[in-house]
């Protein structure tokens, strides 16, 4: 489990609660723990893409399970973030088929351009570069995930454009 001193403002809005209740309704009444993974996604998306311990406790309360049942899941799956991340996280696939098509050079290029190393957040909190494992886009390599979507057949020019679009607030991160 990762510890962080960052505080997170928790706000379970009515819209979010409606969606949570809809997800819970997908399972038999005595099996609502099954909704944990989708609920964590929704809650994380609505809270700057990370899950503080307090927020995880809140999810446990909603699903009527023990906090540890939430912690063990959050720490197991790579898509849940236990500390704040860059607003736009460039998650490059770095498994072999993408490497054959030059993703490593592209990651170097992006890091140099943003002035960060892999895993670091830019000072303004806008960008983060990460290397992740196979995203299932081997035929469209090199590629990365940005929010809910894939950016495929990447080139240096496309990266330049993406960075501009992120700064101009033109990138939609979540499909709600």
């Amino acid at each position: 489990m990762t510890h962080t001193n960052h505080k997170q403002e928790i706000n379970i809005t009515e819209t979010l609660m409606e969606r949570i209740n809809e997800l819970i309704s997908h399972y038999p009444e005595d099996k609502i723990k099954s909704a944990l993974l989708p609920v964590l996604h929704e809650v994380q998306d609505a809270h700057d893409n990370w899950l503080s311990l307090e927020l995880q406790d809140k999810v446990a309360e909603i699903l009527k399970i023990k906090p540890v049942e939430v912690y063990e899941v959050v720490s197991f799956y790579t898509m849940y973030n236990q500390k704040p991340i860059g607003k736009y996280m460039f998650e490059f696939c770095q498994t072999s088929p993408c490497c054959l098509n030059g993703v490593e050079n592209l990651m170097d290029y992006t890091c140099n351009k943003l002035g960060v190393k892999v895993g670091e957040i830019t000072q303004d909190g806008m960008f983060e570069v990460r290397g992740v494992e196979c995203l299932g886009a081997c035929g469209y390599a090199p590629m990365m995930q940005l929010g809910d979507f894939y950016q495929e057949h990447l080139t240096e020019e496309k990266i330049d454009q993406l960075i501009v679009d992120c700064r101009d607030n033109k990138i939609v991160m979540h499909d709600k």
Binding site: P28, S34, I65, S96, G102, C138
Partner: protein, 454 residues
């Protein structure tokens, strides 16, 4: 042009939408099943078809269905495995993104055959936008009366939902997938009991791959016997192949099983040959877990027969000179690709994805990654190659789930077929350091017996 049964309508404009899909004959299998066939008759058709699980293991789907426990009277479930994460594989994603109703139709017909009234599609977390596509498609199907209570007045009820994962390769293993669907960590369960007896919430459950379920409507609309006529021998039907690497036309292809590897690689209808003038060096036919094969074993088997795209032909020669069809993740390498770096890359993947339950896999995958890392970076030791073989042999067969085997096999195969490349890395560290990432010297030109040891 070989026969297509899954992607035959993929180019019809608007096939993603319910209206167009229905106009093109979609959901006919549900009508036929619910009005004319008993569940057992459908199971028999699927058995006759010879359809084999398309996720990788190739287990006969009809037989898997026939194992489901109907006597206990417990609720039964069908769970579709859409947790596609095997490196090199991106076929299910293509099908779900561009013809989502085919999967939903298959889920309804198959759930009816199994007597399941509550079914799920478990999709990997990274496919978030496809999760939304499926949710919308399910809402359309429900509004049109294909889901819910008393479907088509038959008395059969079915609810279908999509469950999203959150980034864990291991959840593609069926019992880990079930654990994850129950809201837990994806730790595989010890079998037996098999999911057909005790699966989701301890109820009888069948877990099938997306492509397997999407093949069911065609079998029901036509017949199992018709399906068995497609393909070759025990490899019946068609298969989606996801092709990547150093080829001209990467992408997803539906092929009739039995096509020759040579034609698939070189015909303009398929991969169109290599992407540059660099020659073919190696290929992985079924996703990162299956053994890599060198150029001289790709088009011909060790016996000199043509290598075909079938379960049998690709595994001809066992692990000595064969590989596996697996998930159909077809990765092609030219002679600039470094096999050591590729093997290290895959080992890193398995180390990252090991759930940590079994010591041989949790520790062994990490050791293999470290040893391969030092060889790849020019710090290898002469004894490292035997050390790798020793580690992989102690993982293989000693774990609860097949992830251990999947991590071990590629390492053994790489050393078996490309040992000189490993030795070259160890003996000429200065040449290896400061290379550009994935690019190697064309190792096919290095003959180790000619190399003078310093």
């Amino acid at each position: 042009m070989s026969q297509k049964i899954l992607l035959d309508k993929i180019n019809v404009p608007g096939i993603k939408t319910y209206d167009v899909y229905r106009r093109e004959g979609g959901y006919a299998s549900v009508e036929k099943a619910l009005k004319k066939l008993t569940p057992d008759e459908i199971v028999e058709e699927v058995k006759t078809s010879g359809l084999r699980g398309r996720g990788g293991a190739g287990f006969p789907a009809g037989m898997k269905w026939s194992f489901i426990d109907k006597k206990s009277g417990k609720p039964r479930h069908l769970v579709c495995n859409a947790d596609e994460s095997e490196p090199g594989t991106f076929k299910d994603r293509y099908l779900m993104e561009f013809i989502p109703h085919l999967l939903i139709e298959g889920m309804i017909t198959s759930s009816y055959a199994l007597g399941a009234n509550l079914s799920y599609i478990y999709i990997r977390g990274e496919y978030m936008w496809i999760y939304k596509i499926l949710e919308r498609a399910i809402a359309e199907a429900k509004a049109a009366g294909w889901l819910g209570k008393n479907i088509l007045g038959s008395g059969y009820d079915l609810e279908l939902y999509v469950q999203i994962g959150a980034g864990a390769y291991i959840c593609g293993e069926e019992t880990a997938l079930i654990e994850s669907l129950e809201g837990k960590r994806g730790n595989p369960r010890i079998k037996p009991p098999f999911p057909a007896v005790s699966g989701l919430w301890a109820n009888p459950t069948v877990v099938n791959n997306v492509e397997t379920i999407a093949s069911v409507p065609w079998i029901v609309n036509n017949s199992g016997a018709d399906y068995a006529k497609i393909g070759s021998g025990r490899s019946t039907g068609t298969k989606l192949i996801s092709a990547s690497g150093h080829i001209k036309n990467p992408g997803v292809y539906e092929i009739e099983l039995g096509l020759s590897v040579y034609e698939f690689m070189n015909s303009d209808e398929y991969l169109g040959g290599m992407s540059s003038s660099r020659p073919l060096k190696a290929f992985v036919p079924g996703g990162s877990s299956v053994p890599v094969l060198p150029a001289d074993l790709i088009y011909k088997t060790a016996n000199g027969e043509d290598r075909l795209m079938t379960y049998e032909s690709l595994s001809d020669g066992g692990f000595v000179s064969g590989s596996m069809l697996g998930s159909g993740g077809f990765i092609v390498y030219n002679d600039t690709a470094c096999i050591v770096r590729n093997t290290w890359n895959f080992s890193r993947f398995y180390h990252h994805e090991s759930c940590g339950q079994c010591s041989p896999c949790r520790e062994g995958t990490g050791w293999m990654e470290k040893v391969l890392n030092r060889i790849e970076n020019g710090f290898g030791r002469e004894e490292d190659i035997d050390l790798l073989l020793s580690i992989q042999s102690k993982i293989e067969g000693n774990t609860i789930c097949p992830l251990g085997d999947a991590a071990a096999w590629p390492v053994a195969a790489a050393i078996r077929h490309f040992r000189d490349e490993f030795e070259y890395h160890i003996r000429f560290p200065e040449k290896i350091k400061n290379r550009e990432h994935f690019v190697s010297e064309p190792f096919s030109k290095v003959i180790m017996s000619n190399v003078v040891m310093s």
